[in-house]
């Protein structure tokens, strides 16, 4: 009967306000689940930004020095690509220049992790079904996830604005809102990506790739122009932050771009989410073969990790080529400023500026490769806690064989991606193939030490395993900003990367390389001994 069918159809289409039922409860629940992750992430990002003015002041103490360095920075295309153009030689302006883009990336990564964790992760694990069976509206889970990301980004904006207000209130507000704007824009972008994959891991990888692309677009645009006016820069949300020009006659209307992008992407995500089934995606899983060829634990491990290895390989090679191409320009700069030279030297060693720049880049790749090795080692943890390891180990597969097959991929993969980054750098630079590739491989022992630490933590107890992220993050932070912050050498020495010879250019010394390799072997052995001894968790 059409009389009854019409209202029913209408109700099904519109859904009304009940679509958001339960959002508040879910938001509180999300915040409770993230009560450690979000505060830590926000605090570290904010500290990164807030620690900068002080150290900039100590390095460039007079306005004249700052004006000079700003002029130089602006004329150097490589540095523009790395950090963006300088719009103001005030302390606030230099802070925004030096760290704004990177804080925005951290905000973006935080948002993508939060959104995937509360949307696709929940669906993939099947927990969403239980939640959605309660008095929870169709759009409530996505809304709550986006609000969670919004809360986190708002907290970050508040801290940055408050902490930098002394350097200029409106600049501080612009930087805080801009960083948070990049964060929220990536939150809703993640929400779209999460509609297309059934796997949370893939959703994170794809959005991470988009984040990297946003950085590369901005870098490419800024290497071509010195005022952020390139179309490439304007495509990238990270470029918007730059063009907001915090501490340099803020262009407030740029904030509208963040609002528009966040709203538009959010709307799209809602439209998509409303058109699919819970747990499903727009890219349906294709059927697989009825019989399989996998026959060993090693083949299984490779099958599970090959996608990640491929992604990292492509990313490292491409980034290598890009940074290699920037090397020549880096040489024009620095010259006279002793303090800057000292920073570069502490990061990359002495000798020619090209070599110092290359050594810095090689070191960066090493530290990022540590993230790969940790994520790859922790695949063991994921397999165990998802109870997929149990039936494997109930077959005639020894624990060492099982763990070892993943570790070969983790530790061998680290060598592979570093090799590719070295090749890329040398290709982009156009010379020094041997030294640059060699220098990239010198990073391997330090990466292995962090991987070994992950194995040890996992071997001791799966509960400790995620601590490996903290250790890798610490090493990355120390290596990334330590040299610029006049951090005591003792702290820099805590990171295995601090002990490596600064090559190319610097003196090659084998002792730290061999010692670190030995340490890595020791850590892995101890970790594997733990894996052999302890209970497999249910």
């Amino acid at each position: 009967m059409s009389a009854t069918a019409t209202p029913a159809a209408f109700a099904a289409r519109s859904g009304g306000a009940r679509q958001l039922a339960g959002t508040g409860t879910l938001l509180m629940f999300n915040l409770r689940r993230d009560r450690v992750m979000i505060p830590v992430w926000v605090a570290v990002t904010a500290l990164l930004v807030l620690s900068l003015p002080g150290s900039l002041e100590s390095v460039y103490s007079t306005p004249a020095e700052r004006a000079e360095i700003a002029r130089q920075l602006l004329t150097n295309s490589s540095l523009r690509a790395t950090y963006g153009p300088v719009f103001s030689d005030s302390i606030g302006g230099l802070t925004a220049w030096r760290i704004g883009g990177y804080a925005a990336i951290l905000a973006g990564v935080m948002s993508l992790l939060v959104v995937v964790r509360h949307t696709r992760d929940e669906e993939e694990s099947g927990r969403q079904e239980l939640i959605s069976s309660a008095m929870v509206g169709r759009r409530a889970p996505l809304t709550a996830a986006l609000l969670t990301a919004l809360v986190a980004n708002a907290a970050l904006a508040l801290l940055i604005t408050g902490g930098l207000a002394g350097r200029g209130a409106s600049g501080a507000l612009a930087l805080g809102l801009g960083v948070a704007g990049v964060g929220t824009a990536f939150a809703t972008l993640t929400a779209i990506v999460a509609q297309f994959t059934e796997s949370a891991r893939l959703a994170k990888g794809l959005t991470g790739g988009l984040l990297g692309a946003a950085f590369v677009l901005r870098a490419a645009g800024d290497s071509a122009t010195d005022d952020g006016s390139s179309a490439l820069t304007w495509i990238s949300p990270i470029g918007w932050l730059e063009n907001l020009r915090p501490f340099a006659d803020e262009r407030w209307w740029v904030l509208g771009l963040f609002v528009a992008a966040t709203a538009l992407q959010g709307w799209l995500a809602y439209e998509l989410a409303g058109r699919r089934d819970v747990g499903m995606s727009f890219v349906p899983t294709r059927p697989g073969p009825a019989t399989g060829r996998l026959g060993t634990a090693g083949a299984l491990a490779w099958r599970l990790q090959r996608g990640a290895v491929l992604g990292w390989s492509v990313g490292f090679f491409a980034a290598g080529v890009a940074f290699g191409g920037l090397t020549k320009g880096a040489a024009d700069l620095v010259g006279d400023n002793a303090k800057t030279r000292q920073i570069i030297e502490r990061m990359g060693g002495q000798s020619s500026i090209e070599d110092a720049f290359l050594a810095t880049m090689v070191g960066m790749f090493g530290m990022v490769a540590a993230l790969y090795v940790v994520s790859s080692v922790l695949r063991l943890h994921a397999e165990e806690t998802s109870q997929r390891a149990e039936p494997i180990l109930a077959n005639a597969v020894g624990r060492l064989r099982w763990a070892g097959s993943h570790l070969v991929i983790a530790f061998g993969g680290a060598v592979l991606i570093l090799l590719l980054s070295g090749l890329g750098l040398a290709l982009g630079y156009g010379q020094e193939l041997g030294p640059v590739v060699g220098a990239s491989l010198v990073q391997v022992p330090a990466v292995w030490v962090l991987g070994g630490l992950a194995v040890l933590l996992y071997g001791l107890s799966p509960r400790l395993a995620v601590g490996a992220w903290g250790v890798a993050g610490f090493a990355l932070l120390v290596g990334w900003i330590g040299p610029a912050l006049d951090v005591p050498q003792a702290v820099l020495d805590l990171s295995p990367f601090g002990h490596l010879p600064k090559v190319p250019g610097g003196e090659m010394s084998w002792t730290p390389v061999l010692v670190l390799t030995g340490v890595a072997v020791g850590l892995v052995s101890a970790g594997l001994a733990g894996v052999r001894r302890r209970d497999v968790t249910a």
Partner: protein, 309 residues
């Protein structure tokens, strides 16, 4: 019957997780060639025991042998002759069911009998080309079941293997287990489905709070339970209350209702016939009663009402 060494031999097994004593002196013997039911309420320690037997957990004390080997030190060799089906099968999202079945077969060392594999896939009506989470709960169980039944092993360890299977598939499962038994294989079956246990198991062990409370054939166990009797007598009953093993006696006139320990039945019947029996209804203990009695906390008297449901 020549007595081969038991397939599984566990004695005084202890395992604690922090303050929880998951296993508290467990004993378990599974003879070679039998289907052994492994029963107990949730949280009794069944899965912990199975995980110790698979060498996934290391026991704190006590001894365990599986196919004559130490389950911890000799895990890999023992596993060549063991197939395991967990109660909750998790699959990899990017691997098809068929790939997982073959993977398990190869990881066990021997590979699978391809004809048996095809036959089992057919009988369980499994689509082996689907991947990971596109399988329903029951279908994920089927993947593990096909891999287990198609492999050439001596011992099958099945931990609530039929959770999520529909009744038709439950029947297929029961036939498969019966076939395994006919081939002389040993099966350790942890289950809450009583009809399954009654149909398949030669012997059962019931555990509670990490300890074995009862072990034996079902017939043996039935003797340990109570039969309920309702009788109409010619005269007043005499001295029933004094007989050992009588519980919940209810006399109204010539009508008697009581429960009696099954091994004390004889004396009660004598006493009843002495008063002259007009009608008699005796309800043997159902399996449900048997288990409920063992599952519930140690209570001296049997549940008052009739439990048959």
């Amino acid at each position: 019957m020549t007595k081969a060494s038991p397939a599984v031999e566990v004695s005084a097994l202890h395992k604690s997780f922090g303050k929880t004593h998951a296993l508290d002196g467990l004993d378990l013997t599974v003879e070679t060639g039998e289907v052994h039911g492994f029963l107990g309420p949730n949280g009794a320690g069944k899965s912990t025991a199975i995980r110790v037997l698979l060498g996934l957990l290391r026991a704190d004390s006590g001894t365990a042998r599986i196919l004559g080997r130490d389950p911890w030190a000799d895990a890999v060799e023992a596993h060549r002759r063991i197939a395991y089906v967990p109660g909750d099968v998790t699959l990899w999202r990017n691997l098809s069911g068929g790939e997982v079945i073959d993977l398990y077969g190869r990881l066990r060392g021997g590979g699978l009998d391809s004809r048996r594999r095809a036959e089992l896939i057919d009988r369980f009506e499994l689509d082996p080309t689907k991947k990971g989470r596109t399988y329903s709960k029951g279908n994920r169980q089927k993947v593990a079941l096909v891999a287990a039944f198609a492999s050439d092993v001596d011992l099958l360890i099945l931990d609530e293997p039929t959770s999520g299977l529909d009744p038709l598939m439950e029947e297929v499962f029961q036939r498969c287990v019966a076939e395994e038994r006919d081939r002389g294989r040993t099966v350790l079956l942890s289950s809450h489905i009583l009809s399954e246990v009654e149909e398949l198991c030669d012997r059962v062990s019931i555990i509670r709070a990490g300890r074995t409370v009862e072990s034996g054939s079902l017939a043996d166990l039935r003797h340990l339970t109570r039969t309920s009797i309702t009788a109409e007598l010619a005269g007043a009953p005499n001295g029933l209350a004094r007989l050992p093993g009588v519980h919940d006696l209810d006399v109204s006139g010539n009508r008697v209702q009581l429960q009696v320990d099954t091994d004390k039945l004889d004396a009660v019947l004598r006493s009843l016939t002495a008063s002259g029996v007009r009608s008699l209804r005796s309800t043997p203990p159902t399996l449900e009663e048997l288990f409920l009695r063992h599952y519930q906390d140690e209570t001296p008297s049997a549940p008052a009402g009739t439990v048959a449901r």
